[in-house]
């Protein structure tokens, strides 16, 4: 087959909707040797024949400029989309097929770029829905319905939020394919993915969170070695999903994969500004204390309020409450055990202070009913 015929056959394959599998099949027909496309993790996207041996483990450490890997040598041609290598064309056979292989890699880049543009639109929609939920603009059944329209059914199985941070801009993050397998079969992202601010946000089933977080970190580190990924706790309603997001955002501040700490309202405020559902989240964060007091007839909420009002003075608070100092210390420890935050730390005091302010105590001790604020 001459060069012109080769180009026409490759173009026709893509035009007919055969995708990268079609390009690999035509290349095989042209050269009489196997051809394939692989992503940068060494995961096969298409191969002709489908069962062929490729140096996949060597390709996991492929670097720009490497044109051949394995024994016998397999030719590697980068598939470059908007100046970034997104995939690799693998080919065997002689140098007389170089032009066809380069043309096939260019066609593959066009195909990936076309699909990416469509995916970016879906991600914008997902970003808007998640942002509305995380900022409290969309709540309750409206939030559930909008999540369901994106394939997220909040139920007893639970979902977690994963947040990824790197130095790419929001528009760059939105255009990145992340998973070429799902991009190429036209199904979009395998798990709901959005861009909020300069962060990647993924909503995943709880059981998949550790694995997906690790894969996301590998992906982000290919652009920025100082990337961080945070995993939020399991959520089964829109409000706890918002809390999972803020906790994941906090956990993503370090390097590597970070697990969420108990929600700290101070950090949430820092992350969300005035758009966050602060009163509702404060209510949820303090709910263990209200539940404890209701169940036992205890006074943890009152103790917390008085302790804050007396500027965290053990002697002043115990005098005001007419209790022994050790009783006060015991109650403060119980508060820490129930909420995960200790009054002995600055972060803990900030957390409880914000909760107290947003819920209206210490002036109105115990009056907020957390149950009425849920969801």
């Amino acid at each position: 087959m001459d060069v012109t015929s080769s180009f026409l056959a490759l173009s026709a394959s893509l035009r007919d909707g055969a995708g990268l599998a079609g390009l690999a099949a035509v290349l095989r027909r042209i050269s009489g040797a196997p051809a394939a496309f692989v992503d940068l993790r060494g995961s096969l996207l298409a191969s002709s024949p489908s069962r062929s041996q490729w140096p996949l483990s060597e390709l996991q450490s492929w670097k720009l400029g490497v044109t051949s890997v394995g024994t016998p040598p397999t030719k590697v041609v980068p598939v470059t989309v908007m100046q970034d290598v997104e995939a690799l064309l693998l080919a065997q056979g002689g140098g007389e097929f170089d032009a066809a292989q380069t043309f096939a890699a260019d066609l593959a880049a066009l195909e990936i770029g076309r699909l990416q543009a469509a995916l970016a639109g879906r991600r914008e929609l997902a970003s808007q829905v998640l942002e509305d939920i995380f900022t409290g603009t969309s709540r309750g059944n409206d939030a559930r319905d909008r999540l369901a329209s994106l394939g997220i059914l909040l139920d007893s199985n639970g979902h977690s939020v994963i947040v990824g941070r790197c130095d790419l801009s929001a528009s760059q993050l939105r255009m990145r394919p992340w998973n070429l397998h799902s991009l190429l079969d036209g199904s979009g992202d395998p798990y709901l993915r959005a861009t909020i601010g300069n962060d990647i946000v993924i909503v995943v089933p709880d059981s998949g969170a550790p694995g997906i977080a690790q894969v996301l970190l590998e992906h982000l580190r290919s652009f920025d070695t100082k990337s961080g990924v945070g995993v939020g706790p399991v959520a089964s309603d829109p409000l706890s999903l918002a809390m999972s997001y803020f906790q994941a955002k906090d956990a993503a501040a370090g390097l590597g994969v970070g697990q969420a700490r108990p929600l700290n309202l101070g950090y949430m405020l820092l992350g969300a500004g005035e758009m966050s559902p602060l009163r509702e989240v404060s209510s949820r964060a303090m709910k263990p204390l209200f539940d404890h007091d209701e169940r036992t007839g205890g006074s943890l909420v009152e103790t917390l309020a008085v302790y804050l009002r007396t500027d965290c003075s053990v002697s002043a608070a115990s005098d005001a409450l007419f209790i022994h100092r050790n009783t006060l210390r015991y109650r403060l420890k119980a508060i820490a055990d129930l909420t995960g935050w200790s009054m002995d730390t600055f972060e803990g005091r900030l957390h409880f202070w914000i909760a107290a302010q947003s819920l209206g105590f210490p002036e109105t001790l115990g009056t907020p009913n957390p149950g009425s604020l849920n969801d």
Partner: protein, 239 residues
């Protein structure tokens, strides 16, 4: 365990995964089997057919086959050169003459026979000696052989009661020499491409991309622990 009468082959029963990280493997297969369909039975244990065992060795599968008469089937295997390596009242683990592990078990130990996302309905023997393997397992397990043309090499399909139950695949063309002969389970999914997307997002890598075959669309992946496993549209058998 009775030894009288003919052993009738049932299908794939429990699949055991020996893995260096039980929690990670369990999480991977649990998430992979969640295809997000709202209709699914949420109370069902999606991993009921799986057993996870801790090992310091590389991850590997042990596939159990259900037979109506385990004793008789074991005798057939041993007579052809297989070795018994473990035995319980209901299940016998064997190694075939080429060193491949498998197990025979009573039907009562089989999992829910219905096909649902992530269940294992068939298994393939990945081998470099197809002729020998076909001869051994056809006789040992009393299976009927059907040759299905495929690219790059034909697929050897084993039938029991006219039903596709097992297969033999020549791996010479796509696996390196370090990959041992082994029985590989195929997880059932109505949408193999969506399963690939989930699997790769969860850390797996594709070794054999999604491909149409005479028995339905399938793919071969390495899970995050590096063990090979198949994905297959076994739902196509029901239509």
């Amino acid at each position: 365990m009775t030894r009288n009468g003919r052993a009738e082959f049932g299908g794939v029963g429990v699949v055991q995964l020996s893995t260096p990280d039980v929690a990670a493997s369990r999480a991977f297969y649990l998430a992979l089997s969640d295809d997000g369909t709202s209709e699914r039975d949420r109370s069902r244990d999606r991993l009921a057919q799986f057993e996870f065992l801790a090992t310091e060795q590389p991850a590997s599968w042990l596939v159990e086959f259900t037979v109506s008469n385990v004793g008789s089937a074991v005798d057939s295997c041993v007579a052809l050169g297989a070795t018994v390596v473990d035995e319980s009242p209901t299940t016998v683990a064997l190694v075939d003459p080429r060193g491949v592990r498998f197990a025979l078990t009573e039907p009562a130990r089989a999992a829910d026979p219905s096909i649902h996302p992530g269940s294992v309905y068939i298994a393939d023997l990945y081998t470099r000696d197809v002729e020998w393997a076909v001869g051994f397992y056809a006789e040992a397990l009393d299976l009927e052989l059907k040759v299905l043309p495929d690219d790059p090499v034909d697929y050897m399909q084993f039938l029991a009661q006219d039903r596709h139950v097992l297969g033999v695949l020549d791996v010479t063309s796509f696996l390196d020499d370090e990959s041992p002969d082994q029985w590989l389970p195929y997880l059932s999914f109505a949408d193999v491409d969506a399963a690939i997307a989930r699997a790769t997002a969860l850390g797996a890598r594709v070794v054999g991309p999604a491909t149409a075959s005479p028995t339905g669309r399938y793919a071969i992946i390495r899970d995050p622990q590096g063990v090979l496993v198949g994905l297959w549209d076994s739902f196509s058998l029901l239509s």
